[in-house]
Symmetry: C3
Subunit: 154 residues, 3 copies
């Protein structure tokens, strides 16, 4: 088990099966040392959950947990990109978090912290990343959050 | 004619003139082997078309065709980035598709498939890419879809 | 003083202190020659300003100035990424501008021109960049605009 996965296990977290794209795209691409990971939505028991707008039917705390779950799926893709060994990931370069937002909701950073905190839990200082947190009015399947990332191979 | 353009021609598709930026930006930049292509909206007969929100006045099928048209403009930029020869493009690394979405619409992936399918039609396996499909409430000129991409030079 | 900052000074512009991330992320990361700068919102006198939707309570002109201010914060991050010397930045590769948009507003490009114009004022031809201008229904703290960028080190 990689050190990264051991740290996640200590938090009670295991990597899920990477989400299988159902169309003409893939979960990640690699160019040189750069890993591009596709936007990940929160899957729970085979369906997207939670669904809805943050600031209305979804609370910030629930959405923050959803962002962490999205990033767990990012890590599952990154592990595959790194040949099965997350210790071959040198660092997280950028995270973009899209938050399905009710009109007037401005707490996107607090939501995306769920992904950022998990990045640092997994990689320590190498998990600190450039980040954009953005509000949107709609996401695939009504997901409350979607997270994409760029990482660097060692 | 490049192999890529021959495959497009077999589908009845020809590359349009690249859209000319009307401000202090350009259609693409190149850094090392990485091509960054600007967000492309669907131009038809000199104007942006279709205009409106998917899930309301625009159908998924119409928006999917618009996403393909956006990606055709991406290819026109990529050809210029590759010195006129799309066979010098090694692969498509990432596509981000922004879908102008009515409240509650969650079918962004089906829309962005229009771009993804064309990427694979043009480049085969090398056209499979990391992808994010996102819903937004507004796009330039009211466009139904906007597509940006990152590609890799050979 | 770098040539870039001298050009900005001639326009009456000084770089602000880089905005300090208040969570587990950073203002920028560097991978090889690539600088990824976090999404920047307009800070004025210690608070985010202007706040609101463009096309409703915020005018295009005010939002354009806000986009320029966001890009000034991008430059402050890029200077730090370049070891304090913006002349070590070779070029601007990509700008993404997220515009907090009222329903039906389609003037995002005119807004993001505020960032693009400042990029060219700072770097000349090397400031011309790939760009996406996108409308969204909500941004952190209600900001009218958010700007992220990718730059290249010399």
């Amino acid at each position: 088990m990689s050190n990264v996965e051991a740290r996640l296990a200590a938090l009670g977290l295991a990597l899920p099966e990477p989400a299988a794209p159902v169309a003409n795209y893939v979960g990640f691409t690699v160019s040189g040392k750069t890993i591009y990971v596709s936007g990940q939505v929160p899957w729970k028991d085979g369906k997207i959950h939670p669904v809805g707008q943050v600031g209305a039917e979804i609370s910030v705390e629930e959405a923050k947990q959803a962002a962490a779950l999205c990033f767990l799926y990012v890590l599952a893709q990154a592990r595959a990109a790194a040949g099965g060994d997350l210790d071959r990931v040198a660092r997280v370069l950028r995270i973009t978090g899209y938050v399905n937002s009710a009109p007037g909701f401005g707490g996107q950073p607090a939501v995306v912290n769920g992904a950022s905190d998990l990045a640092v839990a997994a990689f320590g200082e190498a998990g600190r990343h450039a980040r954009s947190a953005v509000g949107v009015n709609a996401l695939p399947g009504g997901a409350a959050v979607e997270v994409e990332a760029i990482l660097e191979l060692a």
